[in-house]
Amino acid sequence: MDHDTSFTNQTFKTVGTRVNRPDGVDKVTGRARYGADATAPGQLVGLFLRSPHAHAKITKLDVSKAEKIKGVKAVITSADLPDRFGGKGGQYDTLVNCMARDRVLYDGHAVAAVAAIDHATARKALKAIKVSYEVLPHVTDVDEAMAPGAPVVNENVFTSGMDPRPTKPSNVSRISTFGHGDVDVGFAEADVIIEKSFKTEQTHQGYIEPHACLASVGPDGSADLWVTTQGHFTFRTMCSALLGMDMAKLKVTSSEIGGGFGGKTHVWVEPIALALSRKANRPVKVVMTRDEVFRATGPTCSTSMDIKIGAKRDGTITAAQSILRYQNGAFPATWAMMGAMTSFACYDLKNCKSVGYDVLCNRPKVAAYRAPSAPMAAFGVESVVDMVAAEIGMDPVEFRIKNAAKEGTRASYGPTYGPIGIGPTLEAVKNHPHMKAPLGPNQGRGMACGFWFNFGGQTCVDINIGTDGTINLTLGTVDVGGARASMSLICAEELGIPYEQVKANVADTSTLGHNDTTEGSRGTFSSGMATIFAAREAITELKSRAAKMWGIPVEAVEWSEGSATAVGDEHSNLADLSLAEIAAASPGTGGPIAGHNEVVADGAGVSFASHICDVEVDPETGGTKVLRYTVVQDAGKAIHPDYVEGQFQGGAAQGIGWALNEEYIYGDDGRLQNAGFLDYRIPVCSDLPFIDTEILEIPNPNHPYGIRGVGETSIVPPLAAIGNAVSNAAGVRMDHVPMSPPRILKALDDAGQ
């Protein structure tokens, strides 16, 4: 990087204040436009035909009747989507996932798509498509998929990470091992060893807005895609590759996004919408139904794991081991590998070992879900940590403090940590009033900590100064939850002007250089960095213009509090020039004033959180009520505290739903039974209390403002915090997420209560 990204420990005037967000009015009045809110003249309705089988060969696919129906303008099957990837690799998998080729791999896998003049005609076309299947044996459970004799999901997948390379295909696509030291030696030194197995069921990110797009391809191959996405540049890359289009000819505009959490970082229907539009020569609008979203987008993994931790009576952990089995859906991926990396990341361990098995199943292709893979491993590990602490007779917070990772600790995934916040979050939990609140009958308290990586990535920002001194701040990172406010605060801070003078907007792909997807908690960190440097470039230009206006050397000009000041006694007669004054004069001093920055923000650091929760378990119904919840997390620097709190609360709420109620339920026929919000039960307003938050600010040394990513980490501790709380309330150790009423009742029954 050309700029110095070190933390400068400055005092802020604007950053850190709780301003109103610039996109607020549009969102509360219904004016804001999301994926399904765009229309184009002559647009067609796009609908999909999807497999009703978990695993089958397509023996016949005849669309000829459908194509002839009046009002049907295009029908797409895999025959219209040539394989440009030699039949293998990530992009090939994406192509197959978007539209099945010779076989269907999960219930809901797309088989064909139609574009017609209205819904009724499109539905008629779907009915007229003749498709025959030869049903194949399927497997949907991760452990069953690993058992000998399990149906093979993909004959071309051989287990990676084995030496020598195997010759028979397997549902295990990869085995990954992390760790250091010798766990056998460590366990031999332990006074107490706890070993337990856990399972977590599959969940979905559950964004309220279904995937939707409006695709418009012209006869010359130029295309427009309006789409709800976390990364419009990434979508441009993916779609142009899949369809063989020039990247620059495909303009992707990000609509407002109605939730993503990782599920909108990949393409599902978008390439097909473009293919339909290209064939029909008319715009095609595709809006997924909620049923399709559950069946045919990217939920997270279901898992099965074995955790073993040993410790001395004085509380020192001597060895820790996690064996993780994660199902990735019907395509190879590395989610278990990530779980193995994060398993013991909170702790300072001499001996640790994590093994991840990535497994294929006849389920949809897994996508990232907010700190992907970490919450499940944390459920197992943090539950066993509590069990070990209880066995030794040590307070669970003290036990964690004693073993917490710190600067200089060798992380369980390899590298040595720089300054990190796990210790401070645990100390904050220890001293929090929540820990001293009294508990009543059937009530229990649990706490847990969690870790996640933060990322940087390609980012660029444009700052353009209008002649009235107001600022257009152009971003390329999709705003998922308040970034326009935060970036405006940063821009205003750097320029020394009021927040209200800055107007932020998210540009389309033809207006700005590539920006990576908004994921990995990178938005504020990366865009913030680029905004700072773009603003500083603008200031350089502003000073140069002021120098021109005064006729003095530019070395004699300083910038402070939104104005140029002439320094030196010989210039003491010159009144300051405000940004607005310099801007007004800009047509005569060299034209429009702008600042620009491209940066690959990197070295983002890592993020830790600790949660506390109190629950009450009804022993008759098995129902759990969350009474109180506290999130403590390190944000480095909270640019807009309201939105940092919002991330903490939102992640916690998703974790609570995952812990208590959310799960994909598959029948013996391999079909998803609960593809709707009635039976896939996410938390509602009456399920939750107010969620208390404490923002710690331990500066990230690699960012001028000390910013750390915050968006993901708060979904990592809740499964275990709730697990520990429910276990304490019910008096039995819970080992299967979600801890729904039937599971709690069964656990109570099994324990003879």
Binding site: G90, S176, T334, Y369, Y417, E519, G520, G603
Partner: protein, 81 residues
């Protein structure tokens, strides 16, 4: 300098946990690594390799210099959600 390899990458380096290799930047390191261990190509193609320098993880910055005496770790490239 010593470069440590995480789990999946070790197999491509004949099982070694640590290797001795000289490099001044990440790009330099990647070039020499692929030269010496062609099997690494699979991981580079798969989605890439991330480099941790003194605990900071770099995913994209090929030009990032590697200081003398830095702790260097190669990890699989990661993504968030």
């Amino acid at each position: 300098m010593k470069v440590s390899l995480s789990g999946v990458l070790r197999a491509a380096a004949g099982g070694a946990e640590d290797i001795e290799i000289e490099a001044t930047t990440i790009r330099d390191l990647m070039d020499r690594l692929l030269d010496r261990y062609p099997a690494m190509q699979e991981h580079v193609a798969d989605g890439g390799i991330a480099v941790s320098i003194d605990g900071q993880i770099y995913r994209d910055t090929l030009g990032q210099p590697i200081p003398e005496g830095a702790e260097v770790f190669l990890l699989p490239r990661l993504a968030g959600g």
